[in-house]
Symmetry: C2
Subunit: 160 residues, 2 copies
DNA sequence: TATTGTTATACTCTATAACTATA
DNA sequence: TATAGTTATAGAGTATAACAATA
């Protein structure tokens, strides 16, 4: 177990990571913000799925996913077909236009990473992927609540 | 130089990191959201500084810092004293109440990290700190623009 | 009754633009 | 003219709550 000072340093780096996210978001097409990009990426990687599955993979509330998916459907990048097995549900999948958009995004982000990480060794990149993957597995998910850790008796951020 | 597929995987992990941020933000006191916490942390670590320096360290626009600082000043956690050497400027420093708040936050986040990362080796934690630090150094800063990497001819997110 | 998804509301983060005061 | 900071505005992310339709 690491010392509290290492945890504090890690927390600072997490906070500073916002600058990386913002830099990356500037490489996205103006009509596809980061949240929409995440949806397209998951549908491109894992294939068609239901809203609830998508929200689970994104670790966000279903209401968030619902809105992002509506944004993408308006632009013709994904289809929401009814699920014959459960009429409450909808099956999401990329359209050809959505796949083209995803390809465009892939090229943009690859170009950005090549510039920003051009001098990184493959080892360090793989290490970072490994550690971030493990981090994500250990940290929380708003849809499966755990006991709160704040000193406040009751939740913490009213809207979260 | 790594392959585009590694970059794509890294981009997915960056996106998934949002779940970690959200989990961490739930451990904060209800009256001190993540942005305010970042300000308190920097002032606690680096001591008093000007608004512009703070915005530089946070890699956000000065207007963002101005609002966050106002929020903290309203609650009595920081002071904004005039800079005798430049009357346009203000020097920020923590008040005793601000130091107490910071200490409370430190305890909360340490408790959360102990739970979530209790089974991590010190080596992996140090590796993650090292790689995130390097990442932050290589990635961008909204206040020193670089050539855009989107395929769009002109920047990209209207509001960014 | 419980679950899937949608919509309304509210709050945070963030950038751009217009403005004031000072250099 | 240029810089430090404030404020107004707007868009994106996010959660909670109320709701409709279906299981």
């Amino acid at each position: 177990m690491a010392a509290p000072e290492r945890f504090a340093e890690l927390a600072r780096q997490f906070s500073a990571f916002g600058a990386v996210r913002r830099d990356l978001s500037r490489a996205l097409p103006y009509d596809c913000p980061p949240g929409s990009t995440a949806v397209l990426t998951l549908l491109g990687r894992d294939g068609e799925m239901r809203m609830s599955r998508l929200a689970e993979l994104l670790a966000v509330d279903l209401s968030v996913t619902s809105r992002q998916v509506a944004h993408l459907a308006e632009r013709g990048w994904i289809d929401r077909s009814p699920d014959p097995a459960d009429k409450r549900s909808r099956i999401l999948h990329l359209t050809p236009a959505g796949e083209a958009k995803l390809q465009e995004i892939f090229l943009n982000t690859t170009r950005l990473f090549s510039d920003r990480l051009g001098d990184w060794s493959e080892h360090d990149i793989d290490e970072l992927i490994r550690l971030l993957t493990r981090l994500r597995a250990g940290f929380g998910d708003c849809r499966s609540p755990r006991p709160p850790y704040a000193s406040d008796p009751i939740p913490v951020h009213p809207h979260k």
